[in-house]
Structures are given as structure tokens and as C-alpha cells.
Amino acid sequence: MSTIIAYFKGIGQGLNTLWTGMKVTGYYFFHARKEIITMQYPDNRDTLKIPERFRGRVVMLHDQNNEHACNGCTMCEMACPNGSIKIITDKILNPETGKVVRIIDKHIYHFSMCTLCNLCVQACPSNALAMDNSYENSVYDRSELTFVLNQPGSKIRDNVKD
């Protein structure tokens, strides 16, 4: 008896879930005019709005004093599955404490090999990296796709730990 009930219950549930799905798509179909999400990109270039979470390319965040948060720990370099990041560090003597400390010399980023997976951003312990919303990033020469992320003359912010 219970199998018979389960059989008919299954049919009922099946029909119900099918109808639920059809309601959703049906709503979309009949409201397509106002809900369409396609952006006709080259045509609407002036009014184009890029969503905030769009991954354009990796950048290093700098504040107004041209200071960043990167201490050259190479976590991002290790996290990158494609080897797109190469960290070149330097050692300087801290005049106050007399200790030798590591600083970033060049944070080299090969955009040509990057898959925009966001892993380096997540791996960075001091949140020095981020994704920007840039697009139309194509260039004529491959060498133009290699960036040094820390800006020239920039230095590490004081409150960042080693």
C-alpha cells in the first residue's frame, strides 16, 4: 500500500516541481523586455556599467602617499597556479633598530599568463592586491603585458608587519 501511495506522491511531486520551474522561466519570458541582462557592448560603450566584482586585472593598492602594503612575502607568487607573479625582494638596514629587513623591490606581474583566478588576491596576508575593473586590455606586443605592480618610488606603509 505504501509503495502505491509513494508512486502517486512521486507523480504529484514531479508535476509540482516541473510547474515550479515553468513558472520561473515563464516569468522571465513574459518579462523579458525589462529584465534582459545582455549588454550590447561596443554599442553602449558610453553608458556601460561594469559590475564591481568584475575581474579586469591584478593591481596593487596604493594610497595617496604612494604607499602600499606589500612586504615581499611571496605568498602570491606561491599561490599563483600559472607562475604569473615574480617577486624580487631587496634587503635594507633599518637605521632605527639596526636590523636587516626584507622589502619589495619589484612585484612583476605577467598579465599574459594570468587567468584572473583571484587566488593571489586571496593569498596575500596584508591585502596588498586587488582586482580592478579595467577592460579592453589588448595590446600589440606581448611585452606590454608585463607590469611592475608597485609604483616607482613607492614604499611600504608603516603599520604593515613583516
Binding site: A32, I36, T38
Partner: protein, 363 residues
Amino acid sequence: MNAIYDFSILTGGIHEWLSGLMSPTAVMITEMVIIGTLLIVFVALMGLVLVLAERKVAAFFQLRLGPNRVGPWGSLQTLADFLKLLTKELITTKSADKFLYNLAPFIVMLTPFLALGVIPFAPGLQIMDMNIGVFFITAVSSMGVLGILIGGWASNNKYSLIGGMRSAAMVVSYELSVTLAIMTMVIMTESLSLSEIVASQSDGWWIIKGHIPALIAFLLYLTASTAETNRGPFDLAEAESELTAGFHTEYGGIKFAFFFLSEFVNMLVVASIATILFFGGWMPFHLPFEWAVGFNHIMDFIPGIVWGFGKVTFVIFLMMWFRWTFPRLRIDQILNLEWKYLLPMNLVNFLLMALIALSGFYL
């Protein structure tokens, strides 16, 4: 029914005019050539329109815009695609069985052509009025799977073979349900001739007159016939995501277009049969009551061809709605659905319909 909308006046006139010009044999041959040409043009046009409609409808279901670059609203998109397919080189893969490989697209394409031959689209707009039209269509429509199976086998490709085999297992099972659902309605119509079935609904469509069992039969027919045309959610013969393109993986150019087109024309055939059996074909919407005479009379003023194609469009839209909503079923789920659910329900429904017909409990 208003006589002015009857196409037999036009066709009869042409027949008489031709008879005045030449001998009966020549008239017959000429008419056959004309009808054949018209049918090919009709199928090609419907293919183009339906493919475009499918793409537009799919786009709206998914909140996209769909083709919108070629012509206004993308209306020339499918024509452009068709021209591209037409001009492509026809290749036969090296290890394919040449004869069968080239034969398969024609078998697949032949099926909807044969089926379209007996379908009345509007008053007088029917190529051949067979007294066993329903039987003919069910017999002919089982030939389509043969083409798919041959194509899958002859390509000598594992994906094609799996696609063809799946399709065979599926279509052979679902044919039972389609036929039983049709037979359920034939109990009511008391005729196998499609034009007489349409004529029997002049006072109301069977889906209204036959109430509960007719409604169940319609749902069963819709499900089973969607499977028979290999459309989503039953499209596991093609299953793009698992079998690249299933049975037509190795086909290109116009041979591929044949497979592609036949899917859409089959959909048209299936929708036409549904329309004829359940929604009265080209019959206007009539209520089977005394007080509705005036209403029925107003409905008569809309031409039969509008009714016919309007209802076919509605059923096709339903099938597209299914395709773009439901996820694809696995092969075991598909066979489960048929043998454990659709077939028993069909048999019970068949009995129910017979009881209702016997007791006269219908409008």
C-alpha cells in the same frame, strides 16, 4: 464554417484550369510536381522560421537578446546560417560506411515530408485525405529513428553510436505512449481520417468535450511526443555536453542541416497532430452549448488557417518552454518514466476513455 475560407475552391479551380489544357495523366503529373515543390518550399520556410523562433524564444527564457544583427531583430539570421551550410564542402569521414552514411540524412528528412502529406492545415489545405491518416502518421513517424540509428552507426564514431543507440532505445519505448494517447482520442473521434477528426470537432474541441481523460491524454501525448522528436529534456541522442553532438557528430554542411531541419519539422508535425486531435485542427473555438450560438458565429469569421497555425504555434511554444526549462534526463530515468509511469497511465486512461465513451458521459 465560412465557405470563403475554403482552400478547395482555389485548388479545385486550378485543377479545372489544368484539365482544360492537357490530358488527365499530364494533369496528375503537373499537380504532383506543383505540390512537391510547394511542400519543399513550405518545409524549408518553416525550418527557417522555427529555428529562428527557437533561438529567440530560448534567448528570452534566458534573459538574453538572441540573434539581433542580421536583418531587423535578427530575422535573416537563419537564412544566413542556411546559406553557410549550403555552401560548405560535403565530406565523408574515412572509416564511415559510405552508403549508409549518405543515406541517413535522407531517411530522417523523408519522415516529416511523408507525415506532412496527410495533415490538414486549413479547410481544403491537405495534400491527401487518407481514411487511415492517423495510422499512416504513426507508422511513418517511427521511420525517423531508423535514420538516426543508421547515421549513428555508419559514422563509425563512438559518440555517434552511443547517441544513435540511446535514441533507438528511447524512441521505441515512447512510440507506445504516443500511439496509445492517439488511440485514446480515436475512441472519441470514431475515425482514423484526419479531416473527419477535425470535422467531428465542429461543435467543440475534444479537449473540452472529452474533459478529464482528454486532458490526461494531451499531457501524455505532449510528453511522449517531445521525447519522440528527440528534443530537450529528452535530447540525450545529441546531448551536447556529453556526446559532442551525438548521432550527427560526423555530419557537416547540408547533411547536418537535414538532421537539424528534420528536428524542427518533426516538431511541427507533432504539434499539428496534437492540434488536430485535441484542439480541433483548423476548427474555430466553439462551445458545445445552446446559448453559445452567437459566440460560435463570431468565431467563424476568423479564417481556418489562422486558427490552425495559431494552435500549432501554441503547442510548439509549449514544447520550447519545456526544452528551456527542464534539465536533461539520464537514459535510465527516461526509460523509467516511460515504462513505469507513462505507459501504465496511458493504459488506464485508455480504459477510462472507453468507459466514458460507452456511458456517453461527454459533451
